[in-house]
Symmetry: C2
Subunit: 214 residues, 2 copies
């Protein structure tokens, strides 16, 4: 190694493209941290550019506009969740077991930059088209989770109820992690995830003996 003998221009082009991708990613990483900390509107692209030792036009060389940057951040977060959800859905175990695993992965993602961004970004911050795609992706995830809940209700591992409402309640608790989790605070992402999931799975009563409300 070290010789880097190159004959074909192909390899070169590929390499250049890879570098371009790396720079795009760097922008996204810098941007998402600003967005999470200060919010989308309060973050200027000059800030982002400066933090990367470049200027604004450079960023515009990689992205069409500010909205695209936000959307990509959100999309990355949502894709992580969807992937985790899909993986878990199609694996073995009872509905409850699958749902528990899904929630745990979901919770961990919520402690990461791009996951946080999903929760912290409101619909109206995205462009019209971005908003539609955002909603579609969220809905897709919601349906996967709901399906797992329904599997659990069918196989008896999860109590009966309104699956839609139950899904919203569970994912709500998980989404909210992104609003209070502090990486510098106590608890690793995994510990936090386990604690949350345990509360959601077990409910509040100490062990058995729940009456009230059929």
């Amino acid at each position: 190694m070290g010789s880097t003998a190159r004959q074909s221009p192909w390899r070169k082009a590929e390499e250049r493209e890879r570098e371009r991708g790396a720079k795009r990613e760097a922008v996204l990483h810098a941007a998402v941290q600003f967005f999470n900390e200060r919010g989308f509107h309060a973050t200027s692209l000059d800030d982002v550019a400066t933090s990367l030792n470049v200027t604004k036009p450079t960023i515009y060389h990689y992205f069409a506009n500010k909205d695209e940057i936000l959307f990509e951040c959100v999309r990355l977060g949502l894709e992580s969740i969807r992937q985790a959800a899909e993986t878990v859905e199609s694996r073995g175990g009872s509905g409850l077991e699958r749902l528990t695993a899904l929630m745990r992965d979901y919770a961990v993602i919520m402690t990461k930059d791009f996951g946080m961004c999903v929760t912290r970004t409101a619909d109206h911050e995205l462009s019209i088209e971005g908003r539609a795609k955002f909603r579609a992706l969220k809905r897709e995830i919601d349906l996967i989770v709901r399906r797992v809940v329904e599997v659990g209700m069918a196989d008896g591992s999860i109590g009966h109820g309104n699956a839609r409402m139950m899904t919203f309640t569970l994912t709500g608790a998980l989404n909210w992690i992104a609003r209070w989790y502090d990486p510098d605070g106590s608890g690793t992402p995994e510990e936090v995830a386990d604690a949350c999931v345990a509360t959601l799975v077990n409910g509040l009563a100490p062990r058995a003996s729940r009456k009230k409300k059929a």
Copy 2:
């Protein structure tokens, strides 16, 4: 009635003050709806003014600046929650019973304009001073809820665990209601609240028989 005989200027001043208060409230009500729908930054005070058939300087006659308006909206929401929490805390019943009642009231508030505003407003949208008060109020509420959780753990009506994390998980699910509840959709605030609370209290398993994790 109808004669409106007035002799003392006292009554007059008082009345004027009441009217001033009513107008302030009207501004807050108009503003909070814009904030919830479009977000704080995307709402211009011209929008708010126009919707009230006045102009911007009129609004500045009642509020020092835009930040104050947002803060008042958030404060109203947080005060509702705190009041509900305090009322419930100091009443009878087991910890679990009290917590259940608290969560129900909390959930209902989250479906209302000012409650929604609390969840939809991020720290960084408030002024520095507003942010501090915001956090203080939220912390106060958090501590009340946590105390009720601990009462429940002590009296045996709630299973043992990390009260802090449990509180975050529960209130997270409730807070998130403000992000998905649709007043025009199916389900009254009370129905939604009951469903969420039921999920949180009961957990997922169908009835008894929970093992795993002490």
